[in-house]
């Protein structure tokens, strides 16, 4: 890694395999940066409303909504992005609806690969260029799709030789490919498939894009509670020869408590094995950050705050 620490970059794409808590990590990261005094825009790409839900606000749209004085949230919308682009760059007035033109452009976007990606990433890069915020944290699409988006400006530049789109893609590539400005953060859990996909993604990032990996956040790390002596003692307790003792010393629900302990121990053991794979295979210059499994009653702002707190500790 040649760029500065993750928290000193101005554009962070948080990606990762579905189900690893990517949105929670993005929300926590944006909140943490805002609490450090930066003005932050958190942007959700696939507009499912999960990012807004992480702050317990109603689903945000294309126009940013303030969560705190320092933190705003928006959701990407390619049609709105196109309208804004036409208005700002080509001085083509698009009041209200795009009508049949939008339909036509939708077809061209299908035919001309990368146009949708350009509109998405273009809006984000434009916010970076205009310095409307100190930092933009993007809750980016899951693993495979991020490559298309981050590589779109480069591949458009290959396909389109002249014209405004060409110029557009050039300055976008400049922002995206500058490690002092932009970084990708991969969120993962210490499970088999997320780790495998993380390794595959980091490889593809390097081969197919020029955007730098700024760090990997390993989410949901389980606490290590047993030392070797305790583990051995617990294993013996469960080996069937102590059932009389257990039933006379624990209340009726005892077996469920034992089962929970066995399950927690096994999960912890599996996850540390997968974590070892990540540590072994990843480029040692890529920083790894760890977030504990959060045993909270509800998902939402409380969880986001805890993630922000843990991230602040991890990132120093």
């Amino acid at each position: 890694m040649i760029g500065p620490a993750l928290s000193n970059r101005r554009l962070l794409f948080v990606t990762g395999k579905g189900g690893v808590g990517k949105t929670t990590v993005a929300a926590g990261l944006a909140l943490m940066l805002a609490e450090q005094g930066k003005s932050v825009l958190a942007c959700e790409i696939d507009a499912k409303g999960d990012l807004s839900a992480a702050y317990e606000i109603p689903p945000a749209g294309f126009d940013p909504v303030k969560v705190t004085a320092q933190l705003s949230v928006m959701a990407m919308d390619t049609e709105a992005s196109l309208r804004e682009y036409l208005r700002l760059n080509l001085k083509i007035p698009m009041v209200g609806r795009l009508g049949p033109l939008a339909t036509s452009l939708d077809f061209v976007a299908t035919a001309a690969p990368g146009v949708k990606e350009i509109l998405t990433v273009g809006k984000i890069c434009w916010e970076v260029r205009e310095r409307h915020y100190d930092v933009i944290v993007v809750d980016a699409p899951a693993s495979g799709h991020i490559i298309s988006q981050l590589g779109a400006s480069d591949s458009i530049a290959e396909l389109v030789r002249i014209g405004p789109i060409r110029n557009q893609s050039a300055w976008m590539s400049e922002i995206l490919n500058d490690p002092r400005t932009t970084g990708v953060v991969v969120a993962t859990t210490a499970e088999e498939m997320p780790i495998a996909e993380t390794l595959e993604l980091t490889q593809r990032l390097e081969q197919e894009t020029s955007v730098e990996l700024a760090g990997i956040v390993v989410n949901r790390v389980l606490p290590e509670r047993f030392g070797p002596r305790e583990a051995a003692a617990f294993a013996e307790l469960c080996d069937g020869t102590h059932d009389d003792w257990l039933s006379s010393h624990l209340a009726d629900g005892g077996p469920a408590v034992l089962e929970a302990t066995r399950l927690a121990t096994q999960l912890r053991r599996n996850r540390s094995r997968h974590l070892d794979v990540l540590r072994r295979e990843i480029d040692p210059s890529v920083p790894l950050y760890y977030l504990p499994e959060l045993f909270t009653r509800a998902e939402g702002l409380r969880m986001t705050r805890q993630v922000a707190t843990h991230l602040a500790e991890e990132l120093g």
């Binding site: 579905g18 189900g19 949105t23 696939d46 499912k48 036409l86 049949p100 033109l101 036509s104 452009l105 061209v108 299908t110 035919a111 690969p113 990368g114 990606e117 899951a142 495979g144 799709h145 290959e158 396909l159 389109v160 030789r161 405004p164 789109i165 499970e191 088999e192 495998a196 996909e197 595959e200 047993f226 030392g227 002596r229 305790e230 003692a233 617990f234 307790l237 003792w245 010393h249 624990l250 209340a251 009726d252 629900g253 005892g254 469920a256 408590v257 034992l258 929970a260 302990t261 066995r262 399950l263 927690a264 121990t265 096994q266 599996n270 045993f295 909270t296 009653r297 509800a298 998902e299």
Partner: protein
């Protein structure tokens, strides 16, 4: 629509499509459903994964399966202690290869074929962009189904909302190829029909994309033109196949709030499109004993009496009482932690709007599934709750 359980579904449908949020074990579930059907019901079963991740290969012990259909070695079933009544095959989708095969098969002449395959737009379109992946996945499903070789094809879809793109891809492709816009693009000089909309379009497209790029597009789709009718025809056939009664959909989720919210969205969208949602599979369900009052009491009793219990446990196990105390404290903490999650997830499940489908709950496995034995064990859970 009558509610069919998963067993009946797997025994009677020709295509079962699993969809749902990412990271919930969807691919594994699809493979398990196919494996258990091959094992117990017989017939030729194929699992088609369109997820770019290389997971199925890992789980089936078929490393590096490409675009071709590979039959799973019956010896793997024997190793898992099962004598299968049918056979299990697997295929993974290689987008680029599938497109190449499609063009090879349907191009009217070798000159057209070479023009298409050699166009830079073609390479970019087929390798980098997701929508072409969705479309080709459906083409591939259609072709595999049309061979009549398979009694059941279980299809794993890409995660998250893209699965819906995948479902809509055939219709969108048909729209695209039959659109007047494309005609204008391809035959600008011949059309003579440049109306207001197209004039506006041409101006904007020109200013955004540049004339040269438009010319490239025009040439590319010009070459494809001879294949339009085939595209439209097959797209429509795929759409019909997805909607008819030979096909059923299974939504897979975990009990996490975010996953369930997305699963509910899938249920809603499938219903809206009149696709047959037949079952919902909830993976990784924590033991119900974790939300049990008796267990909570037992944990509380240990924690309030921990010194005395530690002495006794130390004697029982022949270890220091401080080791015993840490064992007991860990038991209390593990139970408390997991029960918070179990209760949170039980509440989320209770709030989940399921529609008219049957529900199958699969417990959390404490080991990863990475072989046929594991798939079959998971498969047993899928069909157990019939």
């Amino acid at each position: 629509m009558a509610v069919l359980d998963l067993v009946t579904l797997l025994d009677t449908k020709e295509i079962v499509i699993t969809c749902g949020p990412g990271g919930v074990g969807k691919t594994t579930t699809a493979a398990a459903a196919a494996a258990i059907t091959a094992a117990r019901a017989g017939g030729r079963v194929l699992v088609l994964t369109v997820d770019p991740a290389r997971r199925l290969a890992d789980a089936l012990g078929v490393s590096g399966i490409g675009n071709d259909v590979v039959t799973v070695d019956p010896a793997l079933f024997a190793q898992a202690g099962v004598e299968p009544r049918g056979s299990l095959s697997a295929a993974m989708l290689d987008t680029k290869k599938s497109w190449d095969e499609l063009i090879n098969r349907h191009a009217p002449s070798s000159a057209t074929r070479d023009r298409i395959l050699g166009n830079p737009l073609y390479t970019s379109l087929t390798t980098r962009f997701i929508q072409s992946h969705d479309y080709i996945a459906m083409e591939r499903l259609y072709e595999l189904h049309a061979t009549g070789e398979w009694d059941l094809i279980v299809v794993d879809t890409p995660p998250t909302r893209n699965a819906l793109d995948f479902l809509d891809a055939p219709a969108r492709m048909a729209d695209f190829f039959s659109s007047r816009l494309l005609r204008w693009l391809v035959m600008p000089s011949r059309s003579g029909l440049l109306g207001l909309a197209s004039k506006g379009f041409a101006q904007v497209a020109d200013r955004i994309l540049g004339r040269q790029f438009l010319a490239d597009i025009t040439e590319f789709f010009g070459s494809l033109e001879s294949m339009y009718e085939g595209f439209v025809e097959r797209s429509q056939a795929v759409s019909r196949l997805l909607g008819d009664e030979r096909t059923a959909f299974v939504v897979v989720s975990s009990s996490e709030l975010v996953a369930l919210r997305e699963a509910a969205f899938f249920v809603e969208q499938l219903t809206k499109r009149d696709f047959a949602l037949a079952a919902v599979v909830l993976n990784r369900v924590l033991p119900s004993s974790l939300a049990d009052a008796a267990a909570t009491n037992a944990a509380l009793a240990v924690s309030s009496n921990i010194d005395e219990l530690a002495e006794k446990l130390g004697l029982e196990l022949g270890v220091d009482s401080d080791v015993a105390e840490r064992v007991l404290a860990t038991m209390v903490a593990s139970y408390t932690d997991l029960s918070v999650i179990a209760q949170r997830e039980a509440a989320a499940r209770a709030n989940f709007a399921l529609g008219e489908a049957s529900m199958v709950e699969v417990p959390l496995f404490d080991e990863d599934i990475h072989d046929l034995r594991g798939l079959l064990a998971l498969g047993e859970y899928l069909i157990a709750q019939a």
